[in-house]
């Protein structure tokens, strides 16, 4: 069987198929469960400086081709989170802490307050006021926050980008200038659903972020553009549910992939092993290795 192990954005992993941020990542037990189920690395729920209960319900609603969510970054704050990371590490895979803040200072406070195998800066949550995408839309913020965190930690730092901008590549280049070890693309797309019976927006927060199969083509395009322009590795996320989805994302240039919404679908935690097994069999069938798969679409003519 073709080996899938290698380094992704400065972190060694047995499989490039990871758990995406905010999906079942609130507790150490669920991070550990994902690792034991075959995730190459697990990314935590985004944590910040203070506990947050998140938005009112409904926080998630199923729509055509995926899910809309406006969780509102519920988290127990980094002060109550080290224990969860340590339990998560018991699964044998690296634990990447997803962190958010209102500015560079908060990002640094959270990063220096946690011991993790890497950090993913959430500069892309589309539905939390003054956090996430509202600061992550500006290249100068992305660069400054990345640099500030990089200066204070000695583990890899990834930057998760929002697709809700005209120029995602500009944000990726800003992360690279700030010293990021990789970029993660994409977070959810701003979207909305309305209840036709009452005329009310369904989500408690009115609008939220679209994830799942519907956003995969957008994610593939973002990854393709980013991988063409950046020196640092790109990690692809958005609508991946099968090995074919993962292979497509890697052909666009992703060195690794993350899986979110698919965990809530039929297969659940089994999705990590089935994607990895499918990728490995595909590489065997084609007689190629991972390094040839990554970016194939940019070389193919």
């Amino acid at each position: 069987m073709a080996s899938l192990s290698g380094e992704v954005g400065g972190i060694r992993m047995e499989s490039p198929v990871m758990l995406a941020a905010g999906i079942l990542g609130t507790t150490g037990a669920s991070l550990r469960r994902a690792a034991l189920a075959g995730a190459g690395a697990v990314v935590t729920k985004s944590v910040g400086v203070a506990p947050r209960e998140g938005h009112r319900g409904p926080t998630v609603v199923q729509v055509e081709g995926g899910l809309l969510n406006a969780m509102g970054l519920p988290n127990p704050s980094y002060r109550n989170f080290q224990e969860e990371i340590d339990i998560g590490r018991g699964g044998g895979a690296p634990v990447v802490a997803s962190i958010f803040g209102a500015g560079a200072e908060e990002f640094v406070e959270v990063a220096t307050g946690l011991d993790a195998d890497g950090f993913e800066l959430n500069l892309s949550c589309p539905h939390a006021e003054r956090l996430g995408a509202e600061i992550g839309c500006e290249a100068c913020n992305v660069e400054a926050i990345t640099r500030a965190v990089k200066e204070e930690v000695n583990v890899p730092v990834w930057v998760k980008l929002t697709p809700n901008v005209a120029d995602v590549v500009g944000l990726g280049l800003a992360a690279e200038r700030g010293g990021a070890d990789g970029v993660v693309a994409i977070n959810t797309l701003r979207a909305m659903a309305i209840d036709v019976e009452s005329g009310m927006p369904i989500l408690g927060n009115r609008f939220g972020g679209l994830s799942g199969p519907a956003i995969k083509p957008v994610a593939v395009r973002c990854v393709y553009d980013l991988a063409s322009a950046l020196e640092i590795p790109v990690i692809g996320v958005g609508g991946i549910a099968s090995w074919e989805d993962a292979a497509e994302m890697m052909m666009a240039g992703a060195r690794g992939v993350q899986v979110g919404t698919a965990l809530g679908m039929v297969e659940g935690y089994g999705v990590f092993r089935s994607i990895a097994a499918g990728l490995s069999a595909y590489l065997d069938r084609k007689g190629i290795g991972m390094e040839e798969l990554v970016g194939l679409a940019r070389r193919a003519r």
Binding site: P58, V60, I202, L263
Partner: protein, 256 residues
């Protein structure tokens, strides 16, 4: 699934703090399954089915207050049925319900009686005014009552009623109520764990196994999709009976 709109056709005040709402449609649940109830503009909260077409709500906070403010003709958004309900098995069963926990057990007991199963109920509450669905349970079998203040039946907590019953006679025991009550009953039925099914309560946000707010330590069981009903042996060694988590994920020590 998007929430479907259901109109309220009947409201029954069951106890001073508990009300049942019947809808203009049945969602065809298995007893023990739940639905996410969207109180438009307020919140979305989990509720068990107490009827095929209805829920029974205890007034505790903002969302339930808003449900209490609704009138016949009003409507709610419903997502369900969700989760795994109770599995009926055996010829003689015991239902142990505490407080509003009696709600899903009434639906289960009626399904059991219809299937020819002999049903006994241990119904517990703080005082006689708070006993939920006493008539429904009496209609399907024998009922043992406990009240904390002794105003009716045996004086004491639910477990005080266990000594009035021959537990070994039951093929299956079904629990729903406050967590300390369920943990206590399971503890007193040592060796019977594989015959006990309990519907447990955690903080639900998504109801589809994706957000992780209801995951149990230490194995990460997702209560919203793998439960809310579990066999007691699956709960052994978990956080159940010791602590739970609130909306932010912070651990809260065992309550009431």
């Amino acid at each position: 699934m998007r929430p479907i709109s259901a109109r309220i056709v009947e409201i029954v005040q069951e106890t001073p703090t508990v009300r049942s709402l019947r809808f203009d449609r049945s969602l065809g649940p298995v007893p023990g399954q739940y639905l996410m109830v969207w109180v438009r503009g307020i919140d979305e909260v989990p509720m068990s089915f107490s009827y095929r077409d209805g829920i029974t709500v205890q007034l505790v906070g903002e969302a339930t207050r808003a449900i209490f403010d609704l009138e016949v003709g009003g409507s709610l958004g419903l997502r369900g049925p969700l989760g795994n309900g109770f599995t009926l098995s055996g010829e003689r069963i015991l239902l142990v319900g505490g407080g509003v926990g009696a709600a899903p057990l009434a639906l289960l007991g009626e399904a059991a009686a219809e299937a020819g199963i002999e049903v006994t109920t241990l119904l517990a509450s703080r005082c006689c005014d708070d006993l939920l669905f006493l008539k429904r349970f009496e209609r399907i079998g024998e009922v043992v009552i406990t009240t904390d203040d002794g105003s009716l039946g045996i004086c004491g907590r639910a477990s005080a009623g266990l000594s009035a019953l021959q537990l070994q006679e039951f093929d299956q025991i079904y629990l729903c109520g406050p967590e300390p009550m369920m943990a206590d009953v399971i503890g007193r039925c040592a060796g019977m764990e594989t015959k006990i099914q309990a519907s447990i309560d955690r903080y639900f946000k998504c109801g589809m196994g994706i957000c992780g707010s209801c995951s149990l330590d230490p194995s990460g069981i997702r209560v919203c999709v793998e439960g809310p009903v579990f066999r007691a042996d699956r709960l052994a060694g978990t956080e159940f009976g010791r602590y739970r988590r609130g909306a932010s994920g912070i651990k809260l020590l065992r309550d009431g």
